[in-house]
């Protein structure tokens, strides 16, 4: 599926649920646009988490909220505050990485 982001006018490949298929097509504007759709306003703290997720995804490491909680960037509670109702799902979507497959 190809999705055009209105503000940036870039075309990217996304999965049916709207996750970027190629993380290298991601940029900050796209992140803001996905976040808008979800209803999250991105701050620097959000980007710290997003950058961490992208690093781990690039290294092909499986992600869990527990791992993010131990990263030293945010606690699990803070992660929920940044990305309410979808700490791993929404953060991954905004970070332009594949949909998380972890149960934890």
């Amino acid at each position: 599926m190809i999705k055009t982001f209105c503000k940036t006018q870039v075309e990217v490949n996304v999965s049916e649920d709207g996750y970027l298929e190629d993380m290298s097509q991601w940029n900050k504007e796209i992140a803001h646009e996905i976040a808008d759709e979800i209803g999250i306003e991105l701050t620097d703290k959000h980007f710290e988490v997003i950058n961490y997720l992208r690093e781990k995804a690039a290294a092909k490491e499986a992600l869990t909220i527990r791992k993010v909680g131990k990263s030293g960037i945010v606690t699990i509670k803070e992660l929920y505050q940044l990305f309410p109702k979808g700490p791993l799902k929404f953060s991954s979507k905004i970070a332009g990485i594949p949909k998380p497959t972890s149960c934890i």
């Binding site: 527990r66 791992k67 979808g86 700490p87 791993l88 799902k89 972890s102 149960c103 934890i104």
Partner: protein, 176 residues
């Protein structure tokens, strides 16, 4: 007529996502407690309102003294196998220390998959807004008190109070 049909079809297609889960844990083996914790944490991560009710032997999962030392049964568990897949002899399962060793191995394997110890798992659930309750009847039966329970336990309540928390037409009660 056609419009009516179209409307009925639309109703069928419309998704009605789960809004609340109420999970009851009544058994205290490692796998029963973890089944509850994984489902509860999974629900919280999906943004589903989550209430967990621990009762009877399930109370071990939230009792400070027991929660990080749960065992899996090595006797009467037909799915138990030796490493490599060979059957696990029942006689062996009864030897002193075997259950402890097997349970330790299980916990190690779980840790490798980033499954946290029970105490930390409970913290993860409450960090995401999930709520944990203990059953009053079982607490009285086992002569326990609030101070014996994990700090993550919100309250000791009756089953009636728990059902009151299960309102809403997109709510599911799960018994593990």
């Amino acid at each position: 007529m056609e419009t009516q049909e179209a409307n009925t079809k639309k109703e069928i297609v419309e998704k009605k996502p789960l809004e609340k889960v109420c999970i009851i844990c009544a058994k205290g083996s490692l796998e029963d407690v973890y089944a509850t914790l994984v489902m509860a944490n999974g629900a919280v991560m999906e943004g589903i309102e989550t209430n967990v009710f621990f009762t009877f032997f399930g109370l071990d999962g939230i009792t400070k003294k027991q929660m990080n030392h749960l065992h899996t049964a090595t006797i009467g568990n037909p799915a138990m196998r030796m490493p490599g897949g060979l059957p696990f002899p029942t006689m062996l399962g009864g030897l002193p220390g075997v259950e402890t060793a097997v349970s330790g191995m299980m916990r190690k394997q779980m840790e490798e998959l980033d499954m946290p110890p029970v105490e930390e798992f409970l913290e993860m659930i409450t960090a995401g807004g999930g709520t944990i309750y203990a059953c009053k009847l079982a607490i009285d039966m086992f002569k326990l008190e609030k101070k014996d329970l994990s700090d993550e336990v919100e309250d000791i309540i009756t089953i009636g109070q728990f059902y009151e928390l299960c309102d809403g037409d997109r709510t599911q009660i799960i018994f593990t």
